[in-house]
């Protein structure tokens, strides 16, 4: 029999895990789904802790929060931050077919799990209070399962190759650094001192307001080309006129 505390824990965290798992399926935003996965993983880790497997439990949290973080980034990166699932069916009748298959799978799993008979519970008390949980695990990894352990390293190589193939872009030339850029500017003799800074006015000093050239025309160079492309550049005209108004006031003051 399991203890009362463990039962309470199970009946509190179990439903939370199920709800979170369902949230993974039904959340519209990809990031919400990723958060749900993280919650399920943390809950699983806590279950392992309750099952007297502290190393496994902590590693579950340690690795899977990292892994879900990767998934999270992957999701954000691939499909954009704000995108949501489209609920339009692309294949006709797909929803019903999926439901039917899911039901079949559920029946299969339940019948399979239902026929399992459990032996008497052994518990990990002897192991945990003897050499200790981690040491015993280590003697298993480096004893009975040493071959599987070594194979894991091959798996990790595969993972690295896969990530490189999927996500790495070869660069053909050397990427110009800060120094190279500076030298290039001097050699070409253009904008040697860097590009001009945006305008600073009494009422605005944001990067979208161009500076004025000596002849009074706004300098396009002083605004980031991204803002120019987005057509987010404001004109300095109102600031100039308001400055002229102020000047007039001052001059009036002189005359009086």
């Amino acid at each position: 029999m399991t203890g009362l505390g463990e039962q309470i824990l199970f009946w509190v965290l179990g439903p939370i895990s199920v709800v979170a798992a369902l949230g993974l399926l039904f959340a519209k935003k990809a990031v919400h789904a990723a958060i749900c996965v993280a919650l399920v993983m943390v809950n699983l880790g806590i279950f392992y802790l309750a099952e007297q497997a502290p190393f496994l439990g902590v590693i579950q949290i340690f690795v899977y929060t990292g892994a879900v973080m990767m998934l999270f980034l992957f999701v954000v990166m691939l499909i954009g931050v704000d995108s949501s699932d489209s609920l339009v069916e692309t294949l006709r009748g797909q929803r019903w077919a999926a439901l039917l298959l899911a039901l079949g799978l559920a029946v299969l799993i339940f019948t399979a799990v239902g026929t399992v008979t459990f032996g008497p519970m052994q518990g990990l008390d002897d192991v945990n209070n003897g050499a200790g949980n981690v040491s015993t695990l280590a003697s298993l990894i480096f004893g009975q399962y040493v071959w599987a352990f070594e194979i894991t390293s091959a798996l990790l190589i595969t993972a690295a190759m896969g990530a490189m193939v999927l996500a790495h872009r070869e660069r053909l030339g050397q990427r110009p650094g800060q120094r190279v850029w500076a030298e290039r500017r001097v050699r070409s003799g253009r904008n040697v001192a860097g590009l001009p800074a945006p305008g600073v006015y009494a009422r605005s000093n944001a990067v979208d307001t161009p500076a004025l050239l000596p002849d009074g025309t706004p300098s396009e160079l002083s605004v980031s080309r991204v803002l120019v492309a987005r057509e987010q550049v404001t004109t300095p005209v109102p600031y100039i006129t308001s400055a002229e108004d102020v000047e007039g006031e001052i001059e009036e003051g002189y005359e009086r």
Binding site: V58, N133, R190
Partner: protein, 468 residues
């Protein structure tokens, strides 16, 4: 067995008497909590909580004062004696400020993120041993909230969950700067977490346990900062990276990302991130103290006084706090002295230097330990009146030779570089040779400007150039 323990046994399902039976060769915690009723744990949790909050109030004042001194200005000195209440006043002010949620924000996640960050910051401190066993309310109990066979890993795992606070804050704000800041921060933390975890492996090799009380007990004769000195260096670097502090505070570099992931936050939600940052600093410092500086144990000279009088009872808190604040001072000192690094430099340091070198160090320590334990042969040799295992000497010799060789190669390269750069400048210089005027070095003679000046590439353009 009292009523309370019986109820607890029913609650937890773990027999109370088993914990005392642990044999010596185990990686289980050494701290004995069998005489700690649940209410005492609650009291201890409350004390740790208050300790952390007070320390945070104090360290923010401390940081501002010390940085003030480093920059030759007084720092906050008006609110309360020496300005000590400044942080409290700031906190109160933040509480009375408007809490803004941007229109584009994801409201639930936006509210959740600061709560995750702050809550997770508190948890890790539970496994830090603050002192030895003391008598508290008639019970003999260690000055440590709890301990696990995997206590140190728990800190790393909880830190991993804490990052979610940052990355979710960045995402949910629905704004550019926070998004970039959150992504940067998560990439930064995961990159440095590897090196940190690897650095700790060397300590585990010596201590034979991941429980913090065991690690402290194992350092009673020798602090691990000596045998694992390289791990200590790596740990100190990575702990700065992990906590997003200068010079590694790229996630919130104000010059490029305004406030980073918390740009959109205001009022108490912002304060939660601030609090989490400082408590995380305390946690990593406390872990460094525990892993490398002997935890709550008195420094070697003092420990010997009066047959270890200062190593018992409540004295532990004093030593622990002193060591903790040495690290906090170091954080402040770094912030006062170093500029922020560039992001690619930061990632290069993490991935191309810290990780491979720490991995090599761990393997080296494994060999040294193996030699000490006699895995590599038992023959010993007498040197200066003491017996040394041959294997240890050989391994240490090989490692020393490798390190020497590497330094030699590196120094040679550095010397070449210096020689190339410090080659004496030519005696005569044509200031317009490159098309632009270059001032002469001291002792250089100027060539008269040649007519090439008229043929220099482009005079200053009156018309605006196109973007180059």
């Amino acid at each position: 067995m009292s009523n309370a323990t019986f109820a607890l046994e029913a609650l937890t399902g773990i027999p109370q008497h088993l914990a005392a039976l642990a044999p010596a060769t185990t990686d289980n915690p050494k701290a004995d909590f069998s005489d700690t009723p649940w209410w005492l744990s609650l009291v201890k949790a409350l004390l740790i909580f208050v300790y952390l909050l007070l320390s945070t109030l104090l360290v923010i004042w401390f940081e501002r004062r010390v940085i003030g001194r480093m920059q030759q200005r007084p720092g906050p000195n008006r609110t309360g004696p020496f300005g000590l209440l400044q942080t409290l006043a700031d906190g109160m002010k933040l509480m009375l400020k408007e809490d803004i949620t941007p229109a584009a924000a994801d409201r639930v996640v936006y509210s959740l993120a600061p709560l995750i960050a702050a809550t997770m910051a508190f948890v890790s401190f539970a496994i830090i041993p603050i002192g030895p066993d003391v008598w508290m309310f008639g019970h003999h109990t260690p000055l440590q909230l709890t301990d696990l066979p995997v206590a140190v890993l728990l800190v790393l795992a909880v830190a991993g969950i804490g990052v979610y606070g940052i990355v979710l804050a960045g995402w949910s704000s629905g704004s550019t700067y926070p998004l970039v800041g959150g992504l940067r921060s998560s990439a930064q933390v995961i990159s440095y977490e590897i090196a940190m975890g690897l650095a700790l492996v060397a300590v585990f090799l010596y201590s034979g346990s991941m429980s913090t009380s065991q690690i402290v007990a194992a350092q009673s004769s020798l602090w691990y900062i000596l045998p694992a000195f390289f791990s200590f260096v790596v740990y100190v670097i990575t702990m700065v990276g992990e906590t997003n502090r200068l010079p590694f505070d790229l996630a919130e570099g104000e010059g490029e990302l305004t406030g980073g992931f918390h740009t959109e936050y205001s009022s108490m939600r912002f304060a939660m991130f601030y609090l989490a940052e400082y408590i995380n600093m305390f946690t990593v410092s406390a872990l460094a103290t525990t892993m490398f500086l002997g935890g709550w144990q008195a420094p070697p000279g003092i420990a010997a006084i009066n047959s270890g009088m200062f190593n018992h009872g409540w004295w532990g808190i004093l030593w622990f706090t002193i060591k903790l604040w040495i690290f906090m001072w170091f954080f402040v000192w770094l912030r006062g002295s170093l500029p922020r690094v560039r992001y690619d430099q930061f990632m290069r340091l993490g991935w191309k230097f810290l990780i491979p070198v720490t991995l090599a160090w761990v393997v080296a320590v494994a060999f040294i330990r193996g030699a000490q334990l006699g895995y590599l042969g038992d023959s010993t040799v007498g040197l200066v009146g003491r017996e040394f295992p041959v294997a240890t000497l050989v391994i240490v010799g090989v490692i020393a030779a490798l390190a020497l060789g590497a330094t030699w190669v590196w120094e040679g390269k550095q010397a070449d570089k210096v020689a190339r750069e410090s080659a004496p400048p030519p005696e005569r210089i044509d200031p317009y040779a490159g098309g632009y005027p270059v001032p002469p070095m001291p002792g250089q003679e100027l060539v008269e400007p040649s007519p090439a000046i008229s043929g220099s590439p482009t005079p200053v353009a009156l018309k605006e150039d196109t973007r180059g």
